[in-house]
Symmetry: C2
Amino acid sequence: MKALVLKAKDVPLSWEDFPGPTPQAGEVVVEPQTAALNHRDVWITKGLYPGIVFPGILGSDGAGMLAGREVLINPNIGWGPNPRVQKRSYSILGMPKHGTMAEKVSVGEDRVHDKPPHLSWEEAAALPLAGMTAYRALFSRGALEAGEKVLITGIGGGVALFALQFALAAGAEVYVTSSSGGKIARAMEMGASGGAGYTQNGWEKELANQAGGFNLILDSAGGAGFSFFPKLCHYGARIVSYGGSKGAVPNFTPQSIFWKQISILGSTMASDEEFAEMLAFVSLHRIHPVIDSVYPITRAEEAFERLARGEQFGKVVFRVRD
Amino acid sequence: MKALVLKAKDVPLSWEDFPGPTPQAGEVVVEPQTAALNHRDVWITKGLYPGIVFPGILGSDGAGMLAGREVLINPNIGWGPNPRVQKRSYSILGMPKHGTMAEKVSVGEDRVHDKPPHLSWEEAAALPLAGMTAYRALFSRGALEAGEKVLITGIGGGVALFALQFALAAGAEVYVTSSSGGKIARAMEMGASGGAGYTQNGWEKELANQAGGFNLILDSAGGAGFSFFPKLCHYGARIVSYGGSKGAVPNFTPQSIFWKQISILGSTMASDEEFAEMLAFVSLHRIHPVIDSVYPITRAEEAFERLARGEQFGKVVFRVRD
């Protein structure tokens, strides 16, 4: 088969011949039509992940055919029996296990779900990893309720956009941040009530003026911006952190969270049950993932660069087959 | 009546004549036998609290007589209908409302509970504020389960000691920290499995060696020590913060919490329902509060100084009547 092969860190990926998968007991071979990119894939190409093996095939997100059936893949491998937290041995499809950026991928048969019929192949591949991450962060960890005010930072990223769509579908009032005024405007076209550019002085006051305060904040940045979140929180609010691209949080104090009973909740991925719930939610509300761009997989390098530069608004998708 | 009167900040308290309370509708007048000190009282005497009024009568904790009935007082005023979080207008007995360090105190009739019969007057006054804070932090916020490993920092403080007793009664395995080796030894006599001196280099490695890792950490300090907590946490662990005496946390990163699904949970006081549950728990398990020292209220200044110096192991209690 052909696959997008990662041979070493910081070496361009190449679409080339690679031995096809040998399914283990309980596995099936899916033939991806589409795959999607995640930041995780970019970080792996730079060596910024534990336990990277070469040669490898990236890709946690994929949709394709399995014996005439249209399916998408749950990228969880071995979450374990506790819905609250994954086992330490948990891993994600696409490293070290060969992923979806290939003509064939072998996955556990219980990893395969029917593709929601309202989704195109591109939309189906865009959904799994970012959709499940947003779902758990918003509902299981964030305990979002209808009518609450939600702040989603860094709108434009895959998880952030699913969180926007899911929160709106659940009846929340949503505000966003971005470094790009254009992305904020697009989020407001999608239904966000307001937003602020986090690179502008006083963005937090601007948000406080617009919204009054928040019941739930979803963030994948950390850094200096995070320090303002407790002030923006209502009593009893939750701050869900699913990433830390801006690193350490300066000036975090217990005083800022204990009197207001604020919860700061780390979240990553989702249990298998949450994955199934997320698919049902997307089908019920006829949610269409936001696609930033679609590339033939032979032009993968351009796609990786687009994601690395943070230019995207929505998911970057590969067509694996024409 | 006589009362311990706070006339201005940083002025010694004096036991002197003061107008007795005029109960409002729905209030009853309790005659305290005993009262207990909290850090809150110390901070108020230094002016470190919002909305201080002079002259005032301190004291959130008290036990005494009400029409021939032995009672203790729930110090909550106006928590509100949501058990998850108090209303913004919520306040605590003892400022601005006159508190228990007086011969008479007027409180809402639903603030009064029967004194658990196994408690002395001194123990009954020691229980309310610290006991309710420990109960909520451990069970409602911390979701403690039997068999889990718990770290309680700063053992010797009132909340920390109740948390130790409650966690042991609930079947947890408890470790402690202190700056004092003597306090750690006393905690181990009470049932703690181990501990480490947080002023010693490598205390966090010592704890990791002893316990392996923790499911729940209770902390009222923040500061540099807090930065080590995520490393000491098992996957899915909770860090409950109910105070911040050491201030800002250097080097807090989202990376340290999201993959391990760690929750950092601000907590303060407890709802009225939790207060009642705490009393039932203390009665069921025949828990006796740890009393550090008992002072006649005429020697209040010595007691305030003892608490301010952090020398205590357990609650500092006043005898209001002889």
